[in-house]
Structure formats: C-alpha cells, structure tokens
Symmetry: C2
Subunit: 316 residues, 2 copies
C-alpha cells in the first residue's frame, strides 16, 4: 500500500526536491529576513463536495494562511493518515486535486509522509499540510494593524463553503445551487503587494465566519469596527438556507475569501483585484476598546461576538 501511495504522489507531485526522498528536504537560496509558517490538519467529511475536495482544501487553506501576512508561499509539506480500505481511485482523485491546486497557487510540495491506520481508527483520509513563505521587505500586514477609518472589505460572497458542506452531508433536503468557494488566493495578494497597495490586515474567515474573524481583529488591534447589514454580499442560495435553517451568514465558514482592512486609498485596487463580488462592508472606528458593531438596514446597532454555539463539525 505504501508503495502504491508513494507512486501516486511521485507521479503527480514530483519535483527535484521531493524526488530525493531524503529525511528532510533541502531548499537552496532562501531569502534572508522574515518567514511565515502555518499548519492545518484537514478532516473534512465528506472528502468530496460541490466545488472542491479535501485535496483542494488543504493546499488552499495553507497558502491562504501564509498570504495573510503577505508571505509568498515557498514550500509545503504534505502528510496523509489513511484508513485501511481507503478507495485508491478516490485517493488518486485527491492527489490530482492537490497537484492542480498547488500549480494554481504556484507552490511546490517538498516533503511528505504517509501513515496507515486500521479500519475504524480513521475516516478515509486525514491530511496535514504545513507551509512556509517569505515576507517581502517593507510588508507589514497583521490582525494587530487595523487603524481608525480603514475600510473593511470582504472579497466575495460569504458562507458558501459551509452551506456546500451542509448540502454534501444531506442535512437539508431541498435543492440548492451552492458550491464551496475553496480556492487559493495568494496570487491576488502577491499582485496587490507588487503594486505597493497599502494593506493593514488580511484574515481568512474560515470556521466562525466573517463575524468571528472581525471580532478577533478588533481584539488584536483594540479597535471598534462597524459593519453594515445592507452591504454584505450573500449568494441567493446561501441566503435561502440561512432563512430556512436560521443560520447567520456572518458566522458561516469560507475557504476562498479574505477580509481585507486597508486605508480607503487602497480600496479601489483591492476591489479591482478580487472582482465584482468583493464589497466594502464596514469601517474601522476609534481605537482603544475592542468592539464589533452591526448596523442593520433600518439603522439599529447591536454588538457581535465570536461564534459561541456548537457548529457543524469537520467542515475543514
């Protein structure tokens, strides 16, 4: 089984470094200076869903986390925990999805590992990826950097990934036409940084959604942030599900969206890079105290917090 898996991986992902199969991968010419490092394990259930699969998810999640600090992804590791009896055809589809997403993101997989556990001690496949990237000189992007009067942008529709997972698990029995948004976004950040667009914060609103991510930024930057109900971009299919099931799209997970906080002079460039569904949804207010405020279409204001209730497990 190990040989079969190694064969699959080598055929689809091989490069000069991975091929050496040494205990550690060696990379030449690392830039001096700051590097970013991030890891996630992926236990998504089911492994295939509308718009993506665990393979696309693990590469996107890792490069997207790296790019939140402005890092340019440099190398990824890839580790599989396989349950005995995993369908090899499915595994091959996943490895091919990893390969195509890595190509799309412009990143290579340099080292990996495979472990097999007994039937009933896993669930098909768990994947861990870890990524490192180089942060260009002069770039300073962090959730601690939001400033008064900054614009708050969401780069597209909210909640598509989580609603696609609800549908994939057949937890709702009506037809909806919602795909997961899972996608690598690092190239777009790279393009903005190349144009010297000034960005203060980038955050990946995964589990807990846009509201939890904004709350964390407010806490880190000790600022008040107000978002406007009527500015929030929500796909009609996601809106239907939310109305019927009672979800709030602000708390639904995304896997191909960023919250970007920037001075208003940068807003046009950010919106242009991310396309027509990207919207300014709010504004950073005064600093000093962390508060997330929600202004309804009728002008009412309420405070929001982190996601507290138990949510769908294993969405990523």
């Amino acid at each position: 089984m190990h040989e079969l898996i190694n064969g699959l991986i080598m055929n689809n992902l091989k490069n000069g470094i991975l091929e050496r199969m040494d205990d550690s991968a060696i990379m030449e010419n690392m830039h001096a200076g700051r590097i970013a490092m991030t890891t996630d394990s992926y236990v998504v259930n089911p492994m295939f869903f509308r718009g993506g699969d665990i393979g696309r998810l693990c590469i996107s999640g890792t490069v997207n986390d790296l790019a939140t600090s402005g890092a340019i992804p440099y190398a990824l590791s890839l580790s599989f925990i396989l349950e005995e009896g995993m369908d090899i055809g499915e595994l091959e589809r996943i490895v091919k999805s990893i390969a195509s997403t890595a190509t799309e993101a412009g990143v290579r997989i340099v080292t990996g590992d495979t472990k097999v556990v007994e039937k009933g001690k896993g669930d098909g496949l768990y994947i861990n990826t870890c990524g490192i990237g180089h942060i260009p000189d002069g770039v300073d992007i962090s959730t601690y950097n939001a400033k008064e009067n900054d614009d708050v942008i969401i780069t597209g529709y909210m909640g598509n990934h989580e609603v696609a997972m609800v549908k994939a698990r057949e937890l709702i029995d009506f037809d909806i036409d919602v795909e997961s948004d899972v996608a690598p976004l690092n190239k777009k950040i790279e393009a903005l940084l190349k144009k010297n667009v000034d960005i203060h914060c980038i955050k990946d609103p995964t589990r807990g959604g846009v509201a939890s991510a904004l709350f964390e930024i407010a806490e880190h930057s000790k600022c008040e942030t107000t978002i406007q109900e009527d500015a929030l971009p929500v796909h009609p299919g996601v809106r239907s599900v939310c109305e019927i099931v009672g979800y709030d799209p602000l708390y639904l997970a995304n896997e191909g969206k960023y919250i970007i906080i920037c001075p208003s002079g940068s807003t046009k460039d950010v919106l242009l890079e991310f396309g027509k569904d990207a919207k300014v949804i709010g504004k950073v207010g005064k600093t000093g105290e962390a508060r997330l405020l929600y202004e309804t279409a009728y002008g009412g204001i309420r405070r929001m917090g982190m996601l507290e209730t138990t949510q769908l497990p294993r969405i990523c």
Copy 2:
C-alpha cells in the same frame, strides 16, 4: 473542548510567536541560504510506552530528521487530531512531554492546529509535526555522499524502540527490561559540526531499521557497504526478544539513533560525542553498484535488502 486544549497548549508551550495566534507565525531574522523542511504524522499505539510517549516521539522525530542534513532546527509546527472522549489528563501529560522534549532539543513550536473527530473516527490522538531548520554554510551531509573507505557508525543499541512497542502492546508475555530509545539528537550533531568534524551521511534508522537505512544509503550513493555481525551493538533484552520471536535487530525501528557515515579521521570524534554504546559497524566499499553486505562472525557474507515483510504497524 477547543478552549481547554488551547489553554493546555498555551500554558505549556507558549512563546512570543505562538501567543500571537495569527493565521501564520512570523519569524524574524531567518538566515539566507539553505533550509531543510520535514514532516511526519504520528499514530503510535499505545500513546505511552516504556521510555517515552507520542509527545516525545513527535518532537524527536522531527528534529532528528532535520539534523540528518546538518540543519539546526529553527521552528516546529504542531497539529492534533483528537478523537472525542480523549482523556484530558493523558492529553496534558503528552503536551508536557512535548514541552520538555522541545526544551531539550532547543526548538520552539511557533504554530499549531487542533481538530476533533467523532468517537470511532480516530484513536485518541494523532499528531503531525513539521519542522524547518537552517543548514550552516559549508555543511554538505546527505545519503548521496557516502565515499569509499568511509566508516559506518551506529550511535548506540539497535531496535530498542520497536521492542518496547512490542512489549507495550503485550504481544509478548515475558518480562523484558527494554525502554524505547526515543530522544532528540540534534544537539549532538550541532556539536560535531561546530568542531568541523567531517560527516558524509546521517540517517535516522526508524521503520525498517539499520539494514533498510543502510540499503537506502547504498542505493543513493551507489556504493557497496559491508557490516560486521560481531560489531553490532544490541541490548541484551532486545537480543532475547529477537532470539525468541525471530526478529532481526538490523530491521527493528529506532527513534533515538543515527547511522553516521564519515571518513575514518572523523570516527573518534563521533564515537566520543555519542558515548560508549556507539560503534563502528562496517565500512563503505567501492562505488559504482549499490550493495549491502553482511559479514557473519564466522566470515560468511550475504547480501541484505530493504525490509520486505509486513512489520508491526503504528510503531511511530
């Protein structure tokens, strides 16, 4: 549960970088030049065994893999896949073991992740670690570098980890006094490199043991290697188990040992650094063809290959 786990991790592992809890960890002042990267998932069963546990194993395995290329471990990531119902007391012991082993190895954990899966979809705890390290200028250590007349050294008794796992799983019912050798070895390699000791290859003889590791080196360096039966260091407890069960200690896994291949002028320094159980077990012969030869105490010679039979699963 997530909060409890995060609390445990922060209390035991916190440092300035991990504490920021950003989507990616930022590290300053990375050296320019070559870096090494390695990853492993740990699914060892049981999680606690004589001489160690999954926590000590995951840190040791990662720093040991990094040091095989002469890299000085710089930062590690740590990711947990927890099965619902995992005992929190056990988890705390494991996190403390991770902390003390990381301190021993002189490495920090800068980023992490925790996922929880349903009961019956995991097995207590699976851990993934990924590590990066900087390779000092002038260091060139690789399994591709064995040269004719080099000495082959094993840095201590062979097979202790795997025999400890056999015992921990109660697969044998007699008393043996064998502990796993799991330990971080990077500081010893660092000390040798600081003294400019010339080393050609370092290899971690984990699954498949010393023989499989030597066979891989022979293939990578295209050389003949001969090892001497009467030079092999084997703990009496391991020898007893091998005699009774029919294991060959050359194929048993180690988690705190290195094979070091070096010019004979370096041998004294290597043996001194690793202590009295480190032994020269053989010699690299002529290059051109990959062959691993075993010379018995009676002078007979046979060829050896990689481990082929199915071995104990989940030993790391």
